[in-house]
Symmetry: C3
Subunit: 314 residues, 3 copies
């Protein structure tokens, strides 16, 4: 009857609880102030409703009601966002002796600062929507872009997360950006600096690293990576965090699908990076970079034909 | 006390509301008829339940109850879908003088036409499931394919969205396809024409553009792009929309992972496009295209070995 | 009035129901025991709460309450998981004469076995979180990794799904892994064997096939594929399922973004596979493999410059 013995929940519970001991970081016991992901996403949805009023179609907004609707949404966002930022700040402070605690005041101020940036974020997003419409022949209308393009979720979330990142709010910027990543396949680190009239078409697989700097009127396609080439390490072999290690793209750069740009390099104004190209060096303004050699081999019914640059006769 | 001043919600609200003025496209004030994304996804879930009865496991369906279950689901789909299509049509009509308004009747007819296409869509999906099972050694059963493969969500949603696209219903086809994109990483524009026995394995990163035409028994893998090479523009530099600008894949074509096919080219019957290949020209039937040259360099403990075509001795 | 005729729901229902007949696999009529995807994901969420207690921030957990919280979560998981496994087993048994039915007892045992593996899974996940923190300069804290990194969802789900896969539970392992795939863009087949201290950065587009074997301290980036090169078929042309057909990565291997490794090959201890490389052969330990030739062509204002290995003078 050995195989039928009653399962010992107490023993398994004990074994699991033992794995929590002497642990930092991957359990959150006694951490009452951890920010709550679901609440943060709820705030984001309120902010998106302010930025694109009526776009969800859930509530109809008229010229007569718009002031009171926005006012109410701002109050709701402030209340919830300040609470979550306070949790994030307290979590960071938990090992420090920082009383009289300044976390509630700092949280309120960070939250208000984000709200006061919304008009500017709104202006940037209008230009992003315009860039999407102008850059994509499949776009039928501005409305279609706003309602259906995953890119809009990605860039709106990024512009909000980036504000919180620059205020050094812990945890929340990355929770926001990884939520957008899971919705869109577009992974923009909240640290990235992005200019106006930006557009990413299709988007799945795009990675934009923490210290990337992107100018105005830049366009890119699915699968583009702005990544780090290698990580500087300290004398103990630990990664040094925070250094500039990702590309800078100047105004008007276009990067086609699946191109990979690595390291702290500069892609000059108006340069065009072709699909599938790997770049590990700076590129002068106005340069077009493409895969150099026709790289394909054709075999038709057993006969080989090399259509490389040097022709089929070689 | 300057830093402690009360946050001025009225002023920020004013600034935000000002950004809404003289705007077209990225706010939806006074647009009572915008389609509601959540309702559209709800209709899609009903349609998927009709196409794969019982697959969610949420309700058990028997031979005795199946007729009444499907009948009820059709009525529910019709009611909600017609309302959303009417909203989309009214939104498109809002600037035109089109009364006596035909939107409600057109919406009812489009919705009914979609429902009457469900038996044919069901037949196509049966063949798609079969293609998935036959094409993937990791597939354990038809059930596993239907219940767990993201491809099934992508292709079922596409076959529905494509019907609405061909009826020129605005907004809704793209909302459907981008929802599937966010669930699966597979981005199929609702305009794409796709034959029977289609299969995409893994799927993440696949992009199939608006004017792509895919024959029967075509198979592709993750990261494949059927994209546009360049966009024709009018004399004012604006993109001309709607022209054929994506590839045509004839029957029996296979496209391996990360291959990129660009422009209005034709991949002939039975051709095989290797992984990572970039194609910008038509390919004859029966041709196998692969990356031509061994492209890797090996370095072992400081010693370089070039394993290119010309051998390690050079 | 032809175009206004009443839509014939009965006829369409009939046509749809006819497509269900003589069908196996893509409808689930009379299959009362199909596992329910939503319930399975619910169990997964309970298991994730046990593995990372408090990480959702939804409930605060203290040292005093942790034992009773975990105990209660284990009981809840067991009840629901055993029911879903029983459904999956009964579904597999439905055509066999296997009474007196052993499904309930087998289901209970599989579920208990998974729970008893949780302490070990927890230890593996601690090492995975550490590998993520040490491998990513953008990681600010262990907490940030656990709360926001999609990789953590992918690997925690995989370690659970793999246990059920090795017990030959049908359907549920793949439902779990495809759920994680849809959340993260990371597609790990539940059959894959993965050692300790594993890390995937960014993750979107990663595909790890069913028979892959990954050692300890392996790191990879977005878009990496561990795939099959070709499928052995039987004499009737049907795919033979279950054979080893994916790569083996030994300890300490690093695979950079978009690299593709195909077939039953072995990448030796400590080898480094560069970005974008395609590998179809085994690689010795310690080898660095990169794209051999500078593959880009530069065109600046009409002047061509080939920066390939042979220099710009050619």
């Amino acid at each position: 009857m050995d195989s039928e013995k009653v399962f010992n929940y107490d023993a398994v519970t004990d074994q699991i609880v033992q794995t929590y001991e002497d642990d930092s970081g991957i359990n959150f016991i006694d951490n009452k102030n951890l920010p709550v992901r679901d609440r943060i996403i709820h705030v984001l949805e309120i902010l998106l409703e302010i930025l694109f009023p009526g776009y969800t179609g859930k509530r109809s907004v008229t010229k007569d009601t718009i002031f009171s609707v926005v006012h109410e949404l701002l109050l709701a966002a402030q209340r919830d966002l300040a609470e979550q930022i306070e949790r994030a700040l307290r979590h960071r402070c938990r090992l420090k002796d920082c009383h009289p605690c300044d976390c509630p005041r700092m949280a309120a101020r960070c939250s208000e600062q984000l709200l006061s940036r919304l008009p500017e974020i709104r202006r940037l997003l209008k230009a992003d929507v315009q860039a999407a419409y102008e850059g994509d022949p499949a776009a039928k209308s501005f409305e279609e872009v706003v309602i259906s393009y995953p890119y809009i979720i990605a860039i709106a979330t990024h512009r909000i997360a980036h504000e919180l990142y620059t205020m050094e709010v812990p945890l929340i910027p990355r929770i926001l950006s990884e939520w957008a990543h899971s919705q869109t396949g577009i992974d923009i680190h909240p640290g990235a600096t992005i200019g106006n009239h930006f557009f990413i078409d299709h988007g799945t697989g795009v990675v934009i690293g923490e210290t990337s700097i992107i100018g105005n009127h830049v366009k890119m396609y699915q699968g583009v990576t702005l990544g780090a080439l290698s990580f500087p390490r300290d004398e103990r072999g630990r990664i040094i965090r925070g250094q500039k290690r990702h590309p800078t793209l100047e105004d008007g750069v276009t990067v086609y699908a699946e191109a990979t740009l690595l390291g702290d390099i500069t892609i000059g104004r108006g340069a065009v990076i072709g699909g599938n190209v790997w770049i590990r060096e700076s590129i002068p303004a106005g340069t077009v970079v493409t895969v150099a050699k026709p790289e394909s081999m054709y075999v038709t019914r057993g006969r080989k034909r090399d259509r490389s640059k040097n022709g089929v006769k070689k």
